[in-house]
Subunit: 356 residues, 2 copies
């Protein structure tokens, strides 16, 4: 046909959260792949690994011993990227104006174990067991909000060795800094501008748009409180965003039902991911929410969670964001609607349990 | 000591080209690495591979035969991300205002072979053999400048399977688009603002600053026309930028001496990279220069080349920009000055030739 079709023709989509463009080249999925492959699934893991520094009761590199925790466990990172104590950085007025700008950064880094079981991930945990993770995030966020020099809390998880994760024990991290990092800062700016122009919240509007559009082409799954969508502007092949349907600025504002609904949607998307290529699906996941800088962020933040998974074609073939992506702009192959359809067709029962 | 030291304490550095911050955590180099490792050096390659689709005289997937080229060879990519012919995209006025913004993108993609030899890279080629690559880039850039619907030419190279490169035959690519992609667009905007505020070119000033600072702490190597520096705001552990010392907007404006000097500096930095960990050092490389949109870019562009290499500690351990880097902001371990020192201490004679 002579009509322009998103599934056939190259186009650029706009990300209103970061105010940037993504190139979409859907016909590129047809090209053969001769490049690097990830290693296939690792052998099955034991429920307890005596050499794992995150398992209950084990001793860490710094000599401390983990408690015999039953649900979750949070502790300060033994190799933190930012620290509470360091000499004050005195900015030199000249450099502040010039080409060599720099500031000191204080902060704290924490590790958050999701489960005592070494061989589980969110994808295989029950909603009942994920709820304590949500509650732990809330506690950590609130604790950090009380620390004077901390203005932003970045909660994230790197899952799988393809995402630089060095230990399969289910865990995430929390890096808390004096400054609001680039990505949330960009989003806050864009959301404030959107609010000014539309007298509405960008993500309230977007969640509504996606969940009310005929056929919901980008929705993967939803419950009363949250929708999981492949954003219209997704970069990673199977990128998703879990967004609160109601206007909530942080995990700290979630009521009991919303907390349970968050555990529910996290399990469901993680399980669909594992089922997509029948493997432990790698990703980086991160929570974007209000900074803890003492300012009112009701107008410019809205709780949402990004999942950035690298796999493209199979358990072993990932998308490389290199070359053009680094020098020009992000480029994706399949359309977000195609990705959502693939994820919608996956079961919410984990493949390992199906085989039994 | 109680003094703030860049080699000891966490800090943020500002990238004036993209107007964004990078977190630097120098003490993190001390942490043990237990994560994924790249595979070590591949076995030696033949000078000619009958199965390679880039070797002279071989037939490609689409049935075309490569000529018996002696220096470089450029041809249209058989699996282009953007195409010349596609139906016109008619923007819907509603969507243009809303959250689902999209435009069509026409363009061309080309492959540029650097050498007929299957087993060479820039690092092992002679300056005499790299000069035709520079001349090929100039020709390609100028050819594309004549194409009506093309407004930007992105020349880049993905080297090594760690950077998604599926064929070791030395080659780069050129993706030419209707739009100016995100990264160059950000740089052009920042350079235009700098020009307005300082009545000077940002990269002219920066090249001068780096090459005249006492001890030149971030300069790796230089010649009359170019400096190779680890930028003050580098993200990747051994990221470098090759910047023209004189104000030149594109490869098309290079005189004979500058062309030779570009071949010279490219060989030298690529060779130092290979020598750093005694391996074929992976990277993405890309040229940023004036768009070909018919506008005068003398004020807001300045020819420079970015090298983004992923390796951190050895030939097999790379830096993962995941988790915090994706959700928060880029984070690096060693300081740019430490990286420059490491690269300065590498020879400009390739390690394979040293062993002989
Ligand atoms: O075109 P190639 O070399 O097959 O593909 C490689 O480079 C492209 C441009 O940087 C990327 O989009 C691909 O993800 C990467 O694998
Ligand atoms: O802290 P980890 O898990 O050892 O390290 C991993 O996550 C960090 C935060 O995303 C990254 O900076 C590292 O590159 C990555 O390997």
């Amino acid at each position: 046909s002579d009509e322009f079709q998103f599934t056939q023709h190259s186009h650029r989509r706009y990300n209103p959260l970061t105010k940037s463009w993504v190139l979409c080249s859907p016909h590129r999925t047809q090209r053969p792949w001769q490049g690097a492959q990830e290693s296939a699934n690792a052998p099955a893991l034991p429920e307890y690994d005596p050499k794992c520094y995150l398992c209950p009761g084990n001793t860490r590199a710094n000599g401390e011993t983990n408690p015999a925790y039953k649900t979750t466990y949070a502790f300060p990172n033994d190799f933190p990227a930012v620290k509470a104590d360091q000499p004050e950085f005195k900015e030199d007025e000249e450099s502040a104006k010039g080409l060599l700008r720099v500031t000191g950064v204080r902060g704290q880094c924490h590790v958050i174990c999701f489960s005592p079981a070494h061989n589980l991930t969110i994808a295989e945990m029950s909603e009942q067991d994920i709820l304590p993770v949500v509650k732990q995030w809330i506690k950590c966020y609130e604790d950090m909000a009380k620390v004077d020099y901390i203005n932003h809390v970045q909660i994230f998880e790197n899952k799988g060795s393809a995402m630089g994760c060095s230990n399969p024990h289910p865990h995430g991290q929390m890096w808390c800094t004096e400054d609001v990092p680039e990505e949330p800062a960009k989003e806050i700016k864009a959301m404030a501008e959107y609010r000014q122009q539309n007298n509405a919240c960008l993500l309230c509007d977007y969640a509504k748009l996606e969940t009310t559009t005929q056929g919901k082409p980008r929705v993967v799954c939803e419950n009363d409180s949250f929708a999981c969508v492949v954003p219209f502007w997704a970069v990673w092949p199977f990128e998703t965003m879990v967004v609160s349907k109601r206007h909530v600025t942080s995990v700290s504002k979630l009521d009991d039902v919303q907390q349970k609904d968050l555990a529910n949607i996290l399990r469901r998307i993680a399980c669909r991911y594992d089922n997509l290529f029948q493997c432990s699906f790698p990703y980086s996941m991160g929570i974007h929410q209000a900074p803890v800088d003492g300012q009112d962020h009701n107008g410019d933040t809205h709780l949402h969670i990004h999942f950035y998974p690298p796999l493209l074609r199979s358990a072993t073939v990932k998308k490389f964001l290199v070359g053009f992506e680094m020098m020009g702009e992000p480029q994706r192959d399949l359309t977000p609607e195609q990705a959502a359809e693939r994820l919608r067709s996956c079961s919410e029962v984990h493949y390992k349990k199906q085989q039994k």
